[in-house]
């Protein structure tokens, strides 16, 4: 393929991915969150815009688009403005290696990298740079505290997440996500690797800064954490990055542990979406059920529980794989 065709393919793919993530993940995700929180707290949630409030986030987005972008006094303007791009971009990069389904022409994936799983770990670790930039650039103590907390938290939880990713790659004998899904034809890895699945889900919750690990944007102590000072469309872009990251984590969990697009009768893409939303529901369920950790509990939990457990799991898996290959 000539290089300019590749370039056009990449640009078109990026636009499709961006719209997809913006509509499916951010807009529908926010609506779902409000509906589920309403349901769990015995209220109705958004109800007036569109049928059953379906168009509520669309209206919110339009409102945010028209708002003024306020830059705080003596903020670091360059960093303040760049951080907005870094966070959604890093979230968007995660989607390159997630296979959404399969068609007659091969798996539906942006690019089946032969280092897919490590690539996912790498790009999801880029978000923290954007968060630190936002916290620093805002010239606001709450934002800075939120940014620093997030750096400590995400760096700690990347390790158990990486270890559980490696465990699955070890089982499948490949780092490519498509191969991993194909290796789950007989048995989903959630059955073979329940520990890795739980560790991944916990670490993913921490990586996307959701309750019970939402120290970064703890409303009662830090206003909105690192994006306290952002308004208008910039605020919306942070929301997009956050929900995009959450959907990417859920998509990766589906790919690695729930057999990806595999399932009987229904078309593959539909299976993927069903599993994705089931996991998203778990994330939201946890958010509206559990209270928040303290920062020391949070770091202790990662370093003293999750990392040893996932290391032991990795060693045990490696041993079993070695014995089976003999």
């Amino acid at each position: 393929m000539p290089w300019w065709l590749e370039l056009i393919r990449a640009i078109v793919g990026t636009i499709i991915l961006f719209t997809g993530v913006a509509v499916v993940a951010a807009m529908f995700g926010v609506l779902l969150e409000r509906k589920i929180s309403g349901w769990m707290q015995s209220r109705l949630g958004p109800k007036h815009v569109g049928p059953q409030g379906l168009l509520q986030t669309l209206a919110d987005t339009l409102k945010l688009l028209q708002k003024e972008n306020i830059v705080p006094h003596r903020a670091d303007r360059a960093i303040f403005a760049t951080a907005v791009i870094v966070v959604p971009l890093a979230a968007l990069l995660d989607y390159v290696v997630i296979p959404f389904g399969t068609t007659r022409w091969g798996p539906l994936i942006f690019r089946d990298l032969n280092v897919g799983v490590v690539y996912f770990a790498a790009t999801s670790s880029l978000v923290v740079v954007g968060i630190l930039m936002a916290g620093w650039g805002s010239n606001n103590k709450y934002a800075l505290l939120g940014g620093l907390r997030s750096a400590a938290q995400m760096v700690s939880y990347e390790i158990p997440m990486g270890l559980s990713l490696i465990t699955v790659a070890l089982m499948a004998g490949s780092l490519s996500t498509v191969t991993i899904v194909n290796a789950q034809a007989g048995l989903w890895y959630i059955v073979a690797q329940p520990v890795a699945f739980l560790v991944f889900l916990t670490a993913a919750t921490a990586e996307v800064n959701r309750v019970p690990f939402d120290l970064v944007e703890a409303e009662s102590e830090l206003v909105a954490g690192y994006f306290s000072e952002y308004s208008g469309m910039r605020f919306a872009l942070f929301q997009l990055g956050e929900y995009g990251e959450m959907f990417a984590m859920a998509g990766m969990a589906v790919t690695l542990f729930l057999g990806g697009w595999r399932g009987p009768v229904l078309p593959p893409v539909l299976w993927f979406v069903i599993k994705l939303y089931a996991l998203i529901f778990v994330f939201m369920w946890v958010r509206w059920t559990y209270p928040r950790f303290r920062i020391d509990q949070l770091l202790n939990f990662s370093w003293k529980v999750l990392i040893p457990v996932s290391l032991l799991n990795l060693v045990a898996t490696a041993f079993v794989v070695m014995v089976m290959h003999r």
């Binding site: 000539p2 290089w3 300019w4 590749e6 370039l7 670091d76 360059a78 960093i79 760049t82 870094v86 990298l113 032969n114 280092v115 490590v118 690539y119 770990a121 790498a122 790009t123 670790s125 880029l126 923290v128 740079v129 630190l132 930039m133 620093w136 010239n139 800075l144 620093l148 750096a151 400590a152 760096v155 990347e158 780092l175």
Partner: protein
């Protein structure tokens, strides 16, 4: 010009351009943030050199971890107050001369040496080949690195800990 050449020049421009910002910016935070595009540019260079595994590890370790560590330390030490402080010592002119001389020397050597080429092709699945190499001919280096990693882990904790 082929696509690969265009990609090389774009990536080189990104790497060196943000490298200049890293080196010259009077604001340390800007320097640290400019490290990210520098590292990502080098990542692209690795991809061009068909070293995908090194490229992802570069993003994971450099862009994702070391930059964050550097930003963290800047914010824990002087942070924004450093904007008013002098960032450059008196050796600006000498340093520039030394760097330019070094660059001239290296480039002259790189251009004038007729580089030999051994036979063979790059394996298509590099992570597997790297793993084989680490657990085969390079096992001693691998073990040595892991010992250094452990020592530096302990050392960093001991040094950075507050005395009670």
């Amino acid at each position: 010009m082929s696509g690969e050449a265009i990609a090389f020049y774009v990536l080189a421009a990104v790497t060196l351009g943000s490298g200049v910002v890293v080196v010259t910016s009077p604001n340390v935070v800007h320097s640290a943030v400019a490290l990210v595009p520098t590292f990502l540019g080098v990542t692209g260079i690795y991809v061009l050199l068909s070293a995908e595994f090194v490229a992802v590890i570069q993003v994971l370790i450099y862009a994702g971890a070391i930059t964050v560590l550097i930003l963290f330390v800047i914010m824990l030490t002087e942070g924004g107050t450093g904007i008013r402080a002098r960032q450059r010592n008196e050796q600006g002119a000498i340093g520039a001369a030394v760097a330019a001389a070094m660059a001239g020397l290296l480039i002259a050597v790189a251009v004038r040496t007729p580089w030999a080429r051994l036979p063979g092709t790059l394996p298509t699945y590099t992570p597997g080949a790297i793993g084989q190499s680490f657990l085969g001919p390079n096992l001693l280096v691998f073990e040595g690195t892991s010992v250094v990693l452990l020592v530096s882990l302990v050392g960093a904790i001991v040094i950075a800990r507050k005395e009670e």
